[in-house]
Amino acid sequence: MPATLLLLAACKPPPEGRHPMAGADAAAGRAVVERVGCGSCHAFPDIAWPRGAVGPDLSRFASQTMIAGRVPNRPDLLAAFVRNAPAVVPGSAMPAMPIDEAEARDVAAYLYTLGAE
């Protein structure tokens, strides 16, 4: 219902419209984040442990305009960034992570659920 209301009112598209992530599964992405241990550097709002502090808190990531303050927050760029950050943002403090492309897309879909309005 609220989604329809938003569409009718046409003031702000829902998150899915802003970050289309075709065929990606946010729940699977969350599982990847837990298994790989992204939490050793980041705090995620719905993951109780670990809540690492080397990287930024990602609680409101979906509403951010930039990734790492350097490139536009776009699905394709985000999926590439979570897999191999230094390749997208040269000099990034975040190392490449051991996940494949499909997992990276799922992870990106999950990240777009964090603090989405």
């Binding site: 939490g39 080397v54 403090a93």
Partner: protein, 320 residues
């Protein structure tokens, strides 16, 4: 396709799924005790039912002296004594020393909040030091001396044996054995303060020939790094003072307050069995292990730059 990172496979450990004879007897005992408890509960419920709703005659008999003697005194005495004797016989082999020369000997020390591991020779001196991970051959009994320098911890690998406390000033013996290759998770089972819940470890059981090759490789420490980034990481490791708490054989780092890092790159996990081991978790741990395992005894290194952190991580990855 899933890339690497099966570091935490085997976690959390299943408790009633034995993979060897010692865990087998503990599991058998568990099931028999549960069975007995259920039987006694049923008898008590039946007696209660009779007492509340039974016919006059039945109720009178239930309240009679004979029933008290039989069900109230004789039955528990016989059953409990029988169970005690049977249970003790069944589990005696868990801590009895093995015949001379047959068992592999190790020593595991519970530390706040990680595990110091030593592989011992027949005479009991250390062949190789490691931490947070035990590699054992399949089908052979491993006799482990359990010690602790600080507080009481408890060594527990549910699939391989029972639990046994590690008591300061004492030397307890536990025997474990795996009958099939695999990764078996363990956990400290006695509250030891702060991050006790985050004090785990892994036991990896190999086929005997593979295990012998593994041990042979470990006779010498890993080669010094050759690429520039790893070399820089090695220098930073010493310059940052990591060597005051960590030992890396073949280098000036010889601290003993923290886990031995000679083979850290080969470990499945980091932080005592709690994180998979790869570049990201390594950097996260070194940068701020306090955010990950609050209260642990390694300081956070907020002064290191990302580039320095990565160099140290690359260096440690190569310690394998």
């Amino acid at each position: 396709m899933t890339v690497a990172v099966e570091g935490l496979s085997g976690w959390p450990p299943p408790v009633l799924d034995p993979a060897g004879p010692y865990a087998g007897s503990v599991t058998a005992l568990t099931w028999v005790l549960i069975g007995m408890a259920v039987a006694v509960l049923l008898i008590v419920l039946a007696a209660l039912y009779i007492a509340l709703f039974g016919k006059g005659e039945l109720r009178r008999r239930l309240g009679g002296e004979k029933v008290i003697w039989i069900l109230g005194i004789a039955f528990p005495t016989v059953v409990l004594t029988g169970l005690l004797v049977w249970g003790l016989t069944l589990t005696r082999h868990l801590s009895a020393p093995a015949a001379e020369g047959t068992a592999l000997k190790m020593r595991v020390s519970g530390e706040m909040w990680w595990w110091r591991v030593d592989y011992l020779d027949e005479a009991g001196s250390t062949l190789m030091a490691d931490a947070n991970e035990l590699h054992i051959p399949v089908g052979r009994t491993v006799e482990i001396e359990l010690v602790s320098p600080d507080v009481v911890h408890s060594f527990w690998v549910p699939q391989l044996s029972g639990k046994l406390d590690m008591v300061p000033g004492r030397r307890n013996l536990i025997r474990i054995q795996a009958d099939r290759p695999g990764t078996y998770a363990g956990q400290c089972a006695e509250y030891c303060g702060g991050p006790h819940a985050l004090m785990g470890f892994m036991v990896i059981a190999h086929e005997p020939a593979e295990w012998a090759r593994w041990l042979a490789r470990r006779r010498a420490p890993p080669a010094a790094p050759t690429d520039a980034q790893a070399q820089r990481g090695g220098q930073l490791f010493l310059a940052a003072g990591c060597g005051a708490c960590h030992r890396i054989a073949g280098t000036p780092a010889n601290g003993l307050a923290g886990p031995d890092l000679t083979y850290v790159g080969a470990r499945r996990t980091l932080g005592a069995g709690i994180l998979p081991n790869h570049r990201g978790t390594m950097m996260g741990w070194i940068g701020d292990s306090q955010a990950i395992k609050p209260g642990n005894r390694m300081p956070p290194y907020r002064v290191l730059s990302a580039e320095q952190l990565e160099a140290i991580a690359v260096y440690l990855e190569g310690r394998r």
